[in-house]
Amino acid sequence: MKHIKLLAVLFISAITITSCSDDDPVVINEDEVITTMTIELTPNGGGDKVTLQSKDADGDGPTAPVVTGGTLAANTTYNAVITLLNELESPAENITEEVAEEADEHQFFYSQTGLTSTFTYAGANDSNGNPVGINFTIATGSAGTGTYIVTLRHEPNKGASGVKEGDITNAGGETDIQVSFPITVE
């Protein structure tokens, strides 16, 4: 009988301990999601700025990002700067800062289809002297239409052949963001 009492006491106390309040759960808006990539292109020597943007309002949700491309002038060099935002947070969180802080673990890569532009890393390097690529320049070639593809890799192998020069082929790592912008060069 004694044992039954012991069991009962254990049971009741355990239930009381864990009968937690009925509060609603705390909402989570992920802070590593990149909802928005904006690239501002400022032509060397003056002219209109061009803004490329990919905005994914629901992050990892079902709605695909809205991508806005741009029209660039032929044979012109643009200074480009990338801004990554998480607009699920309020105010929006600037993820570019995190990338800059962990510069040695991140690198942007640029490539194109159908066009003949030249991309060059600019701005600060990481602590090993390797490029990060938040800032870069684009030298457009002749007129045409195509895409610019911007990829951010997390933990790429920056020492692998060609990676420092911006070739993604041997970079490895994981893709943090990858956007294709439709571009017209005229």
């Binding site: 864990t18 937690c20 609603d24 909402v27 989570i28 808006n29 629901d58 709605t63 309020s90 990858q178």
Partner: protein, 802 residues
């Protein structure tokens, strides 16, 4: 001896004088009967020690001793099959006494069938793995040990996360009971292994199909019953065991030790602890980076066990830190294509014991308090309360301040109370009844800063069952029925876009409790109640001494689990978007099975067949892709179809001489989606394992065994390949997530010896797995896209019994 005689003579003299001096005209009569079933015990000796009178009970169990002198008498009642009992009585008149003897020494909850000691069921397809076999898996996992049973395979995430698959079914469909406690862990995903240390088990039995209704009604796949070491009753004893294992692959070291102490009074205490540490495992040609494991576990058990009543307190702790192959972590579909196309993993580092992200860190606490009491002529009542706390942390490769922060943090707290009553007064008619009530709370900690894949929920369940076993001469018949009520009350945030995408706006608008949560989210309160009925009918028929049959039918209903209902979003550790469905219905399985067994001195054959029709079978498979800023991700959705599973398992062992045993275990399984008329995903291919064992008891129990394991290629699989656009290469590719890997054949060897050192017994085993260092991939390994399975492995194990 001499002193005894003197006492005897003295006693005789004393009694003689008593006869003279006292009134010796009383009659002591009575009945000796079985404690359980009140049946008379024939031929029991009733001995009045201090008057040196004895008689033997007659065919009715009755006895009568005339001319008993008044005063105190000491009576000893004994029978060959019983524990002796001593009574002290004061005689002043004629006396009639009913004496109950404990006619069975073994615990009655372990219902034993002739030749099948330890099995929990009599009429189900059940297989038992004994301690000796389990010990070989001291350094491995529960899932690995279970694969010893025909019809049991595993679904893996690498080689340390091993989930048992019984006749093609896994996860929530396989119930794991540890020391009579149903394991409540977050069992739903492929990468969630059961939280059990195989070293804590003395025996494990697997019941295929839901024929162990006592444990639950939803075990469509089967029940794994794990029994820890049971203490010896009524003996003063102390014994223990240690096993030390070392293996080359992963440079694994494991040690497990247990100690048991029991007293004649019934008190017992025992404890067991295990530690396992491995670094990166190796495939045939390369290192599998970040696949180490760090595991700690212990159990502690104390109680008092007497025949009539007893109680027990049991605590078990398990902590597993498991690395997940670094190369299996990728960013988007383009990365996945690279990984699939690459013949070797994209990350290969040198060996290390370090466990880096991605990894899992799972902790499981189990506390049980149990009490039992037997009632004369009736049966046994058992009461049990158990508490479980499971904390699951999954670490991802994250950036910034969250680098070392877990991406999944689930706390599952469960209280369970159950009572069982067993009517065993008639050994040929056994009845069991039980009730259980459960309260469970799942708390996904927002600390992760990652949207919850599994929401907050509370679950209540109530179950009741009745089982009857009838035994006739050559026939055992059992029938059972169970009812389960399950209620789940969840609080979940949905992205507005996901909500609309799943078309919930019409059907589920009433569950929205906050339509304006930050980040365009909805807070909802889904509540579901399920009523499930399960039944089983089984028949065992012994044709003659060598041939027997088992036929069985089981109806099982399983309510959808939280992952099937609620999964929503990017599962980082799998880099896939997983989508559950609130519309999921209970799945219903109708399983027919039949087994034929032939047992002779030299040859043992078991052939088991089953057909399982599952209505509204829930499973997850790739259904396309979704694009985010990170790129495209494969989408895996839970689906519900009518399905059938059909399989044959055979187990043959042939012993031409005392020294040689040849065995073969084979399993063939077919799974089909009847709604879509296509094969089911993740069905294990044909497998056959043949082994040749040579043993010689005279040579210190020497044995040597060579084993050949053949896994065929799965040629029936659904084509879930999808097209993905690779922006960098400006082309579409087919992402082949469907094609199973090729067939493979492995050779394994093991050998061992026993040594006796006074009171200690030493056992030394040596084995080699994958002798030929074969490169292979297993269809049911989630990491098969990224790397090969384990290469050659030398193992040495030392076992000490004391």
């Amino acid at each position: 001896m001499k002193s005894k005689r003197i006492i005897l003579i003295l006693l005789l003299l004393l009694s003689y004088s008593n006869v003279k001096g006292q009134n010796c005209k009383h009659t002591f009569s009575g009945l000796v009967e079985d404690f359980h079933d009140k049946s008379p015990i024939v031929g029991a000796t009733v001995f009045i020690k201090n008057q040196n009178k004895y008689v033997v009970t007659d065919f009715q169990g009755k006895f009568s001793i005339p001319k008993v002198c008044s005063g105190k008498i000491i009576v000893e009642i004994s029978h060959v099959a019983c524990d002796p009992q001593t009574l002290e009585l004061n005689i002043s008149a004629d006396i009639y006494k009913i004496i109950d003897l404990e006619h069975h020494e073994e615990e009655l909850n372990e219902v034993n069938v002739k030749g099948a000691i330890g099995l929990k069921t009599k009429t189900a397809q059940e297989t038992l793995i004994k301690t000796q076999t389990l010990e070989k898996f001291s350094g491995a996992s529960l899932g690995d040990a279970l694969k010893n049973i025909t019809g049991v395979s595993s679904i893996n995430t690498g080689n340390s996360i091993v989930k048992p698959v019984i006749n093609g079914l896994n996860g929530s469909r396989v119930l794991v009971s540890f020391n009579n406690v149903r394991l409540q862990d977050q069992e739903w995903g492929i990468e969630h292994a059961p939280n059990i240390d195989v070293n804590a088990a003395k025996t494990i039995s697997v019941v295929k199909g839901a024929n162990a209704l006592q444990y639950g009604g939803d075990a469509i796949g089967g029940v794994v019953i794990i029994n820890p070491v049971k203490s010896v009753i009524d003996k003063d004893t102390l014994y223990g065991k240690s096993i030390i294992s070392q293996q080359t692959n992963g440079r694994l070291f494991s040690v497990t030790t247990s100690l048991n102490k029991s007293y004649k009074s019934g008190w017992f205490v025992n404890g067991q602890a295990s530690f396992k540490r491995a670094g990166d495992f190796e495939a045939a040609n390369y290192n599998l980076s970040n696949t180490g494991i760090n595991s700690k576990a212990f159990t502690f058990n104390i109680g008092k066990k007497q025949f009539e009543k007893g109680f027990e307190l049991f605590y078990s702790y398990l902590s597993n830190e498991i690395g997940i192959l670094r190369a299996s972590h990728f960013g988007n579909v383009a990365d996945l294509v690279d990984a699939i196309e690459s013949p070797i993993p994209l990350f290969i580092n040198d060996f290390s014991y370090d466990i880096d992200n991605p990894k899992q860190d799972v902790t499981h606490h189990l506390l049980k308090a149990a009490y039992y009491k037997r009632f004369k002529g009736l049966g046994k009542l058992s009461l049990q309360y158990d508490f479980q706390f499971n904390n699951r942390l999954e670490f991802d490769r994250r950036i910034g301040d969250n680098k070392n922060l877990q991406a999944v943090d689930l706390d599952l707290t469960t209280h369970n109370f159950k009572s069982d009553f067993q009517l065993d007064s008639n050994p040929n008619h056994l009845y069991k009844f039980g009730l259980s009530a459960l309260y469970q709370d799942n708390f996904p900690d927002p600390i992760t800063k990652v949207r919850r894949l599994i929401p907050d929920y509370k679950r209540f369940s109530f179950g009741s069952y009745a089982i009857a076993d009838f035994k006739f001469d050559d026939l055992v018949f059992s029938a059972g029925i169970r009812y389960d009520l399950e209620h789940i009350d969840a609080k979940k945030f949905y992205l507005q876009t996901r909500w609309d995408n799943l078309n919930y706006q019409n059907d589920f608008s009433h569950i929205i409790i906050d339509p304006n949560a930050p980040g365009s989210q909805l807070l909802t309160n889904p509540k579901f109640t399920y009523h499930n009925v399960s039944t089983s009918l089984g028949l065992t028929y012994n044709l003659d001494a060598k041939n027997s049959f088992i036929v069985n039918y089981g109806l099982a209903n399983r309510a959808p689990n939280p992952s099937e209902l609620f999964s929503d979003g990017l599962h980082h550790s799998a880099a896939r978007i997983e989508i559950g469905d609130l519309r999921m219905q209970t799945e219903t399985s109708n399983r027919f099975s039949a087994s034929y067994m032939y047992n002779s001195d030299k040859l043992n054959i078991t052939v088991e067949g089953f057909y399982n029709h599952i209505k509204d079978f829930i499973y997850i498979e790739p259904t396309g892709e979704e694009t985010t800023n990170r790129g495209a991700f494969p989408v895996w959705s839970y689906k519900q179809v009518n399905a059938q599973l059909f399989g044959v398992d055979t187990n043959i062992s042939f012993q031409p001489t005392n020294n040689i045993v040849l065995t073969n275990k084979s399993s063939l399984l077919k799974g089909k989606d009847l709604s879509g008329n296509r094969p089911l995903i993740d069905i294990p291919p044909f497998k056959t394992v043949t082994s040749l064992v040579f043993k010689k008891e005279n040579w210190k129990n020497f044995y040597a065994s060579i084993e050949s394991e053949f896994n065929a290629e799965q040629n029936e699989f659904p084509n879930n390949n999808f097209q993905a656009y690779l922006p960098l290469e400006d082309r579409f590719v087919t992402v082949d997530v469907s094609t199973p890997p090729s067939a493979y054949h492995l050779l394994n060897f093991s050998t061992g010896l026993d040594f006796k050192l006074s009171k200690t017994k030493l056992n030394l085993n040596f084995s080699v797995d994958n002798i030929l260092n074969e490169s292979y991939r297993n269809y049911l390994n989630r990491l098969r896209y990224f790397a090969d399975d384990l290469g050659r492995n030398f193992k040495i194990q030392l076992k000490i019994n004391y």
